[in-house]
Each structure stands twice: as C-alpha cells, then as structure tokens.
C-alpha cells in the first residue's frame, strides 16, 4: 500500500474517531469504541513516518509527518490526564483539530508527491507558490 493511501486511510480514521466521540457525547453508546480506535490511531503515524523517510519526500512533508506523529501520540495521553489535570485533558478535542488538519495536509502532500515522483527517476522540485494566482490559491 502506498504512503498516500495510508495517509488518506489515517485521515478517514480521524473522521470516524470524531464521529465516535459524537456518538459518545450524545449517549448513543458508551465511549469504548472511541477509546479502542484511539489507541490504534495513536501509533499509526509512526507507520506513515517509517514509509515517508525512504520515499524521499520534501523536507516540509517529513516535518508535517513528524508533527502528526507527535500530536497523535499525545492525543490519548491528554484524555488519560482527566483525573490529575482536567483542564489539560480538555485540550483533547483541540488537539483533535490539529490532528485532523495535519492528517489532511500530509495526505494531500503525499498524494501530490506520489504524482510527481516516479519510481527510478529523480525528484522534480515542487511548483513555486508564486505560480498560483493570489485570487485562486490552493485550498
């Protein structure tokens, strides 16, 4: 499975995880599904990082994946801090926003780079930002 596919799978996992949080909040079920998936998602970016390093991605993409890994590892720990530091634990959903944004960025960049890099060929540089019209930047 390619890096981009794994990155998009992780992104979908984050969305499912947030839906499971909604399911817990609105008391459709208990929090066990959210908790169980959370522990799995927490370590998934390590796999993305392990795949990214030999894939010769841009340095910025690698740093985004490092950031994603850190944020994902911290996420379950924040929830676990609810008894000793409830205000710190309250950052759990805020950290989820960061996780969502970083997962999206990583998946998009991995897809862009997969299109640009062909096996056995040297990497071509990314298009400069100035090539975009100020009125129509990328989303």
């Amino acid at each position: 499975m390619s890096l981009a596919a794994v990155a998009w799978l992780f992104f979908v996992g984050v969305i499912v995880q947030v839906f499971l949080a909604g399911v817990g909040l609105f008391e459709l079920t208990d929090w066990s599904a959210h908790r169980d998936l959370g522990w799995g998602l927490g370590s998934a970016p390590i796999l993305i990082l392990a795949m990214a390093v030999p894939a010769r991605l841009e340095r910025r993409t690698i740093w985004l994946i490092v950031g994603l890994t850190v944020v994902a590892i911290v996420q379950p720990e924040l929830a676990a801090a609810r008894k000793v530091a409830p205000v710190v634990a309250a950052l759990h959903p805020v950290n989820a926003l960061a996780l969502f944004w970083l997962a999206w960025m990583v998946a998009r960049r991995a897809t862009d780079e997969a299109r640009r890099i062909e096996p056995g060929r040297p990497r071509t540089p990314a298009a400069p930002a100035s090539a975009m019209s100020p009125a129509e930047p990328s989303a």
Binding site: I15, V18, F19, A21, G22, V23, L25, F26, L28, A79, R82, P86, V87, A89, A90, L91, H92, P93, V94, A96, L97, F100, W101, W104, S130, M132, P134, A135, E136, P137, A139
Partner: protein, 135 residues
C-alpha cells in the same frame, strides 16, 4: 498603517481579520467542549459561546463580497455559513435522529477545515503580487 490600509482595502483586511477570528473562535469553542467533558464546566457555556461568535459567519459572507474575493472563495464562505447553521440544528435532533445529532462533532471538523481554507484564501488576497513588488 494608513498607507497599508489604503493599499489593501478595508474590506479585504476585515475579511482576513474576521476569517482568522472565526478560526480562533472555533478552537475556543472546541476547548469549551473539552472543559464540559473533562472538567464539568457545563454545556451551556459551549452553546452560549456559539451564539456569541456565530454572527461572524454571515458577516464573512458579506465581507467576501465587499472584498471582491474570487467566486470560489465567496462560494466557500457561503458553504461555511450553511455548515455553521446546520451545526446549531444538529444537537436538537438528539431525540428524533440520534445518529444525525452525533454528526455535530464531524461537522465541527468540516467547519474548522473550511474556515482555515477561507482564512488562507482571504490572506492570499491581500498578499502583494511578487511579480509587481521588488525583493
């Protein structure tokens, strides 16, 4: 400052400031959910804060038009308003359609992502064109 304002335009500057303020309010709003869940703050603070900053969503639609943003940016700002309106309705469905109410949290992600996209596009709109400015 006055010169910069003349060059950029009040509407464009207002669009940028409003868009990033909206993003910041979403982050605070999500933190309030966390305080409700983990520190028993009470859900009313989360609800009241939504109505406090919610007026920013229609204002952004007006500002995007006044700032002469691209049609795509204006459309995205309108979608942001629709998602925000839906967000206020979703929790009220908890008794009739509980799975729909549970989408409240997923819709929050969509609002957050879209708000950042709109804010970035608004910011791009006030950046000087590198082709016309010197190094």
């Amino acid at each position: 400052m006055a010169r910069a304002l003349r060059e950029v335009g009040l509407a464009r500057l207002g669009f940028v400031v409003g868009a990033w303020l909206f993003v910041a309010c979403i982050v605070v709003q999500v933190f309030l959910v966390g305080l409700d869940v983990f520190a028993t703050l009470g859900g009313s603070v989360h609800r009241d804060f939504a109505y406090l900053y919610g007026w920013l969503a229609p204002i952004l639609v007006l500002l995007s038009a006044a700032a002469r943003a691209s049609p795509r940016t204006r459309a995205l700002t309108l979608v942001l308003l629709v998602l925000f309106a839906a967000q206020t309705v979703l929790p009220s469905l908890r008794d009739e359609f509980p799975p729909l109410a549970a989408l409240h949290s997923v819709n929050a992600l969509a609002i957050f992502g879209l708000a950042i996209v709109v804010a970035r596009r608004a910011t791009e709109g006030i950046r000087p064109d590198p082709a016309t400015t010197g190094p």
